[in-house]
Every structure is written in structure tokens, then in C-alpha cells.
């Protein structure tokens, strides 16, 4: 199973989005784990995450996180700000799926 992690500064606003994405994951019958985390949690990551999506407000963390997590194969990207603002679970899920597919 692949894991997608959504990160914002305290993990609060992304947790709202996570619930929306989970509904889409269930509807599509996908085998995906979606979690929300704070920035600090993301940096001390000691388990496998396949895709890490950053809230647009903390997009300046992307570079550092890429350096930190790139080795273990984690893809770091930034959530589209419109999808983020409208809590569009489906759009964000598609964004994550596209990143996963790049691999295979």
C-alpha cells in the first residue's frame, strides 16, 4: 500500500482535506493511506511515505524536505492552491496519483 502525507505548519488545515480525500479513495476503491502531519513531524519522518504534499502556505519548505526525504524515494510536491482552498479532495487525490504513477 502506498502512503500519501499532507503537511501544513500544525497539521490542522490539512487534516480537513485528508477527510475529503479519504472519501474519494474509498469511492474509487484504491489501496492508499492518507495522513496529515505537522511540519515538524514531516521532518522527523522515520517511516516510508511515497508522496508528501505541502500546503501552499508552507511551500518554502519544499526544497529542504526534498533534500531530506529524496534519498528514501519520497516525492515532495505542493498542493494546488485552488484545490487547497476549496478543499477539493478529488483534485488533490489526482495530483497524488499522478506523482505515484510517475514511478511505475
Amino acid at each position: 500500500m502506498k502512503t500519501v502525507m499532507l503537511v501544513c505548519s500544525a497539521g490542522m488545515s490539512t487534516s480537513l482535506l485528508v477527510n475529503k480525500i479519504r472519501v474519494n479513495v474509498i469511492n474509487k476503491g484504491l489501496d492508499l493511506k492518507i495522513i496529515a502531519a505537522s511540519e515538524a513531524e514531516a521532518r522527523s519522518l522515520n517511516y516510508e511515505v511515497d508522496v508528501l504534499l505541502l500546503g501552499p502556505q508552507v511551500r518554502y519548505l519544499a526544497e529542504k524536505l526534498r533534500d531530506l526525504l529524496g534519498e528514501q524515494g519520497t516525492k515532495v510536491s505542493i498542493i494546488d492552491s485552488i484545490s487547497y482552498g476549496t478543499l477539493d479532495g478529488e483534485a488533490v487525490l489526482n495530483q497524488a496519483l499522478a506523482l505515484i504513477e510517475e514511478d511505475s
Binding site: 521532518r43 508552507v58 511551500r59 518554502y60 519548505l61 492552491s81 476549496t86
Partner: protein, 420 residues
Amino acid sequence: MKRLINFLEVYFIPVAGKIGSQRHMVAIRDGFISIIPLVIIGSLSVLINNLPVTGYQTFMVSFFGEGWTSFGIYIYNGTFAIISLLIVFSISFNLALSYNEDPLLAGLVSFASFFILLIQADGNSFAISFRWLGSAGLFVSIFVALLSTEILVRLMQYTKLKEKNTEGMSPVLARSFAALLPTLIVLAFFSTIKIIFLLLGIENILATLYNFIQKPLAGMANTLGTAILLVFLSHLLWFLGLHGSNILEPFIQAMYLPALQENLQAFTTGATIPNIFTKPFFDSFVYMGGCGTTISLLLAFFIFSRKGRFKNLAKVSVAQGIFNINEPLIYGLPIVMNPIFLIPFIMTPIVLTVISYLSILLGLVPKTIAMVPWTTPPIISGFLVTGSMMGSFLQVINIIIGAIIYLPFMIMAEKADNSD
């Protein structure tokens, strides 16, 4: 307008981004965030001693006896009152973590280093004034945490390159040996500093640095100008789509958390409470509903909005807005990069900072003495941070003023949205 935004994107955003992701800034911020639960509990346990409810004191005394307030004071003494001890460990831990080095060791060594500078070698007694464990020692505590961890981490990385012949040793044993020399060097370094200061005739390093550096800085922090500047910067960053509060957090915590502890310390001893601007001042009176005091905008939407899209967005946002979370509103409306909302989004928090400042200065509202989680809903938080209903009352007034500022711009935004 476009040119201004372009200018900011080229010159301002990269700098802000750098600060927001800079290793030491992040360590300071996370160091403060780690101790927040202790700070909140420490401050609230003082507050419960002094709830402004008629008959409360008499009831508690008759129930638990005269000394009942010690219970809360003890908790305060072990938490917020020793903030410098907590911080030196916590920042060091987070910094070492970012280097992928043993955070526990780094925390312990920094803790020891802080004590090396702290101990007063007056004759035979090793007395430590409680004062320097509190916010008065904070500048040295942050500095020691960063410096000691930097040295330790460098040395650990260096010894790691050298040591290859540790085969046959258990990993724990090998690690403790590898740690020995770097630890020694760091401690020796701070002991040398202590001696140099003594040779210069400075007995109490913390008092000296407090008077020469921390006190003037704190004096600067506690002015209306600085408060307005910080609020302005934070909202300008948010307007550009960056997490302003997050980027400025290291400065805000380091300046306004000590101010709160001074207030609380004064409160426990019955002295005059010194500081108007504290961390909870901003959280409770300005950042209501999140940055931009967007709870006021939500109110304006609910009363005056006639448009489906905006009203729906307000409905979706209100449940989070009560808990001061507003990212969906910021990006969904959007407020980010939206020229119509630039003025009220930055103006409202600044106006409310001034109004809250004046209300406290004139003695209408008591100064803040307690901290609550930033997700505590307005009206409740106003009461808790001041220990007075006037705190809640000020919040209500502020929300209404904010709504009045937002209103004309909201109507403009609706019109613009219609013509699309």
C-alpha cells in the same frame, strides 16, 4: 498593483522562505512549540487560583484550607517559571534532530552547558536564583542551546568519519564512547567562557547579558510600533500566500512568551503586571478566526452576503473559523493575491492591535496573564487569558469593528465576482 506583487515575489518571498526554512530558526520555533503544553498548564494553574467569581475564594478555602493555592503555584514553578531550562533542552533537541544526530545527547549537553554558565560560585554554596531559570535567562538559554549543539554536532560528525575500528563493541557502547570526547570539548568550552567572564570581573553572566542585551530587546518588543510592524509583516506574507505566523514564530515566541511569564510572575506575587504585548495578546485579540481576523469577515458574510458562492464558502469555513483555522477561506475566497482584500486583510488586524492596546493601557481590560491553545474559540479565550469578562467583551467589540472594516470590501468583491 501587479508591479508591486511582482516586486514582492522577486525580492521578498525568497527571503521570507529562507527564514521560514532556516535550520536554526526552525529549531527555535519547534523548541518553543514543544514546551507549549507545559506553558499553558503552568499559566492556567495560576489562573485557577484567582478566578474572578464571587464566593469562589471562600469556597475553595473552606474546602481545601488556606494553603489551597500552593497546588497551582507548585505546578507553575515546575513549568512556566523554569522556561529557560525547558527551552535550552528543547531547542537543542530539535536542532540536533535536524542534523540527524543524537537529539537526547545534544539536549543533555546543552542543559549541562547552561548550568555551567548559571552556577554562582559564591564561596561554598551553589545557589541558583530562580529568576534566571525563568524568562530572564531566556536569551542565554537560546544562545547556549544553538552554540553547544552546533559544536557537538560538528564534532560528532567528525569523529564518525574517523571511527571505523569499533567492531566487536556493542552499538550502545560504541556510541557512548564516540560521544565522550565531543561532550567533553563542549563542556570545557563553556567552562572556559565562565572563567573568562570571571576574570573580567563578571560574576553573574546571565544577569550581565540580561541587562545589556535581553532587557533592551524586550523593551523594544513591548512597544506599539513593534507590535504593528510584526502584525503587518505577518499579514503581508499571508497575503502573498505564505504562512506568515509560521515564518515569524521564532521571533514572536522569543519576544512575547517571556513577556507573558513576567506578567504571570508579577501576578503570583501581587505586583503590578508589566507587559501589554504578550503571545496571548495577539492570539486572542487579533488573530481571531485565524490571520486577518477572518472571523469578522465570516460575520460580514453571514449578515450581508447575498451571493451563493460566498455564502456557501462562509458556511463551510465557519466550523473551522471558530477554532481559528482559516486556510480554506484564505485560499478559497481567495484572499491570497486578491487586491480587493489586501486593504481590509492587513488593516483589520492592525486596527484591532491598536484598539486592544489602548483598551488595556486605559485599564478597561486587564493585561494578559495566561496562555491557551491557539485553537481556543474567541470569547472563551478572552476570558481565560485575562481572567476577566472584560477580555471576552473586548473580543466581541473587536470582531464587530473588524466586520465593519471588511464589509465594504466584501460588497466590492461580490460585485466583481458577479461581473465575471
